[in-house]
């Protein structure tokens, strides 16, 4: 299984780095990648149906229990087939849609890496693996959404999508760590079979919140939904792929995957059906106000995602069954509608629904595809959508709040029918405007995929048991073991559910005739934009940025003296706080008697030099005085038999003085730049800091933690490292790695100085 992911990544890397040489010449051949993977995945259908579950495990960080483990069960297979199946059509479609685009190969590269990440996401058994692929889908979708990178709106949308989904990804990581902490494994299967009841865990609510935020951001649930309409700035194949079958379904997949672990609890169910219901109604209502075809589709996608979350929230086996079926139903018709939108945009140059009409006469196959997709979308007989909608109603009728939930579902479906009609039928009927008379049927690589999807939507509707036995029942077995749901059927006879379906379709069609999309309505909606989550969250983001820049400007104000002041004050505060709370002072004057004449005279020299450095009027003299202090310290090292330190101090001090002189020599004459008050303040801070450091150094000598280490080095430096100079042995052997890094830092510093002073950017 891992090879499928690797194959995608290898192809992607090849295309991104070397693709330019191909000049798009083999783009349609790339369709073979998803196609062959699709064929490969179909070979699993038989095994899965018989209850086999192939697994693959690669150790990655065994010490932390992190593995790359892959597991092919019904749910994974369902999603893999969707990803590669829709992927095949999208690849084929793109080869014509973006034909001649300069970066076509790069586009395929991004698409492949995205597909690989999606496959990894659904195949991973390890939550850590899941998280990594989850983030990889966010990152690769960033490149896909921002593919038209010369367009500012496109870049903003890409960033927005990345910010929202990346934000959710962090919570997934939190959940992964928490799961690992509670269950001491990252494998989802092991967690399920560990016997731990996570709903009883004290961390249950935290886990729920983490998983929910991850899923809601990815699957565009209210109030995180706004990145999805924004992402419509992407080329249409991307929208098709991301929003029908892959990216946004990842959140749904996550919820399904964790149903056995976290589901069947009041919190889980209530949150999910509440958020799902709000999302599906809110987004479905929004479709009424859009005139851009892709805008309509974006909001109807959000609405469908809401339905799915809602169904998972109901949580009965019928509801889960309905969710699984509806995932496929939606993938088929939504991909078709997106592809059709792409064709319309490509051929007529507009996606405005009020301008498009009568195109049936010039592009019949596309119109047929639109009709088929619309039938499935509206849930009319004999489409697969009908089966899906039936199951949804069945699930809501069996739920605890039967009446309320059924009304929600019916209203949403009525509105979705309206949305499907606007895209699937409206552009093709009526009279053909004169400016569209030159429009012609595009290449079959464009119209074949949506037509195929439409036909499949009908085929699965007529024979729903094909998919049910192969995919849905095994998937359901994973989610809710030992549950029984009746097999899928197209015709259930004249039941209450059928009545609801008829009501839905009738009211939906009525709505279509009563309400026409218009630009006026879209403008009206704009007036309440200030209440939309998008505006609120953007406001929050802006506020965040403003606070950050205020904060930065306060501390990073560009004055070196202020930086040093901040650092020293902060350190003084920390050290002072520690010293006051933990240290008692006592002075022992007797120990002063041990002082020798050398020490006293060195100390005197230092004191004199310090005062000279402070009060002198010459900069060079101050530097020289500082040098004297340094040499005096050097002498003290000699008295206390630290020759290595003394030598280093001596050479360093010499070099420091040289450096100071070099820099200061060129400065203007010594001027009094600070007033008396500032100098008193600085003096006070300097004395305070100096005293604190002194007390701290004395304190360090009192608590001798270093005893053991010192002894270790003393005993082993010759035995293990064949050296008698312990200081040197520590530097080059025991702590050699530290030295290695330190000299690297030195080199970086030197390069920095060199770069700053020598490589000035020339003004043009």
């Amino acid at each position: 299984m891992i090879f499928t992911i690797l194959l995608c990544v290898i192809v992607a890397l090849f295309l991104i780095f070397f693709g330019k040489k191909l000049k798009g010449s083999i783009s349609y051949l790339l369709t073979l990648l998803p196609l062959s993977l699709f064929v490969y995945f179909t070979t699993f259908i038989g095994k899965i149906a018989q209850g086999e579950v192939p697994v693959q495990l690669f150790e990655w960080v065994p010490s932390m229990g992190i593995h790359l483990s892959f597991r092919m069960d019904g749910l994974a297979l369902l999603f893999s087939l969707l990803i590669t199946g829709i992927g095949t059509l999208v690849y084929l479609y793109t080869s014509y849609y973006l034909k001649g685009h300069t970066y076509l190969d790069r586009f395929y590269g991004y698409l492949s890496i995205f597909m690989g990440a999606m496959l990894g996401l659904v195949l991973s058994d390890s939550i850590m693996g899941l998280f990594i692929f989850w983030e990889l889908t966010s990152i690769s979708s960033f490149f896909l959404i921002g593919f038209n990178n010369h367009d500012k709106a496109s870049r903003t949308s890409a960033l927005q999508a990345l910010a929202i989904t990346g934000f959710g990804g962090l919570f997934l990581l939190g959940a992964a760590i928490l799961f690992g902490f509670i269950g001491s494994t990252y494998s989802i299967q092991e967690l399920i079979h560990s016997g731990i009841d996570f709903t009883e865990s004290p961390y249950y609510v935290v886990l729920l919140v983490f998983i929910f935020i991850a899923a809601f951001t990815k699957s565009a649930q209210f109030p995180f939904h706004f990145w999805l309409p924004g992402a419509m700035k992407a080329p249409t194949p991307v929208s098709t792929y991301l929003h029908s079958a892959t990216m946004v379904k990842a959140g749904i997949y996550l919820l399904l995957r964790f149903t056995p672990l976290l589901g069947n609890h009041e919190f889980w169910n209530t949150t999910l059906f509440t958020v799902g219901a709000i999302t599906m109604l809110y987004a479905a209502f929004h479709t009424l106000f859009r005139t851009d075809l892709k805008g309509i589709l974006a909001y109807s996608t959000i609405s469908v995602l809401g339905i799915l979350v809602f169904l998972i929230g109901i949580g009965t086996s019928t509801a889960l069954h309905a969710a699984l079926v509806f995932i496929v139903v939606h993938a088929l018709y939504k991909a078709a509608l997106f592809l059709i939108t792409g064709i319309l945009d490509h051929e007529t140059g507009t996606r405005n629904v009020t301008k498009l009409s009568g195109l049936k006469s010039v592009m019949m196959p596309v119109a047929i595809a639109g009709l088929l997709a619309m039938l499935s979308n509206a849930g009319m007989l004999p489409s697969f959508g009908f089966v899906g909608k039936d199951l949804i109603y069945e699930a809501t009728l069996q739920s605890s709040e039967a009446v309320l939930f059924t009304v929600f579902a019916v209203v949403t479906n009525i509105l979705l029918l309206y949305a499907g009609y606007q895209v699937g039928i409206k552009p093709f009927i009526g009279t053909l405007p004169e400016n569209f008379t030159s429009v012609h049927l595009p290449d079959k690589r464009l119209w074949m995929p949506p037509l195929l999807l439409g036909v499949l939507g009908m085929l699965f509707g007529l024979f729903p048991s094909i998919l049910d036995n192969a995919l849905f029942q095994p998937s359901l077995n994973e989610l809710a073991p030992d549950s029984f749901v009746s097999p899928l059927k197209l015709w259930h006879g004249f039941t209450f559910v059928l009545l609801l379906s008829i009501v839905t379709i009738a009211l939906g069609l009525l709505l279509v005739f009563v309400l026409q999309p218009s630009a006026v309505k879209e403008l009206k909606l704009k007036k309440v934009d200030f209440l939309a989550p998008k505006t609120l969250i953007r406001g929050f983001a802006n506020g965040f940025q403003k606070t950050a820049s205020l904060w930065t400007n306060f501390f990073q104000n560009g004055y070196l003296r202020n930086y040093i002041l901040t650092i020293i004050l902060f350190l003084s505060f920390l050290i002072g706080y520690y010293l006051i709370h933990n240290v008692t002072f006592s002075l022992d004057f007797n120990s002063l008697l041990d002082l020798t004449i050398y020490e006293v005279s060195t100390l005197l020299i230092m004191v004199v030099a310090v005062f000279y450095a402070i009060f002198t009027k010459s900069r060079l003299a101050a530097v020289a005085a500082m040098g004297v202090v340094g040499y005096a310290i050097c002498m003290i090292f000699v008295f206390y038999s630290a020759p290595d330190l003394a030598m280093t101090q001596f050479t360093i001090d010499t070099l420091t003085v040289i450096l100071f002189v070099l820099v200061l020599y060129r400065l203007p004459k010594y001027l009094t730049l600070s007033d008396f008050k500032t100098r008193v303040r600085d003096g006070f801070i300097a004395v305070l800091f100096g005293s604190l450091i002194t007390i701290l150094s004395i304190e360090v000598l009192q608590v001798s933690h270093a005893g053991e280490t010192k002894q270790f080095y003393a005993e082993n430096s010759y035995v293990l490292a064949k050296g008698k100079n312990i200081v040197n042995v520590i530097l080059v052997d025991f702590r050699g790695l530290d030295t290695m890094v330190e000299i690297t830092v030195l080199v970086i510093a030197a390069l920095g100085v060199f770069g700053l002073l020598k490589l000035r950017i020339r003004n043009k």
């Binding site: 070099l655 040289i658 820099v663 050296g723 080199v747």
Partner: protein
């Protein structure tokens, strides 16, 4: 500071100081000294020569830009680290030694080469920084 005395002295001092720095470098494992101090002494030697005879003369004397010593030093240090891995399959930075000491130099082992790397890096870094600053100002 172009005095005759200093200029004359520095001509003799340079080789002496360099020799001294190598001496400090080599004795480091047993007695006070080592690559870091050795490197600093060598840089001081060059800087002294530079301030007496002018930066340009020192540069011609060096032939290469001192900056080139930095990657060389880093490479030497790094390879002394992996020598143990390659030759004896031990962990990174494990010291390995020749059995018998060499006359004058003493025991030869990877820590010595590591120290030589440090020496080169220190000379490179110090000279690069000081020469750059003194040239630009």
């Amino acid at each position: 500071m172009k005095t005759i005395i200093l200029r004359t002295a520095s001509t003799y001092l340079l080789p002496l100081l360099l020799l001294f720095s190598v001496f400090i470098l080599l004795r480091g494992h047993y007695l006070p000294g080592g690559g870091f101090i050795g490197g600093l002494i060598a840089s001081i030697a060059f800087i002294l020569h530079g301030s007496a005879n002018g930066q340009e003369n020192t540069k011609t004397l060096l032939r290469i830009h001192p900056g080139f010593l930095m990657p060389v030093g880093l490479t030497v240090a790094f390879f002394s680290g992996i020598a143990g891995m390659v030759l004896e399959g031990k962990e990174f930075m494990t010291g390995i030694w020749f059995k018998d000491p060499l006359p004058v130099i003493g025991m030869i082992g990877t820590p010595l080469f590591f120290d030589i790397g440090v020496y080169l890096v220190v000379v490179g870094v110090t000279l690069t920084i000081i020469m750059t600053i003194s040239e630009s100002s």
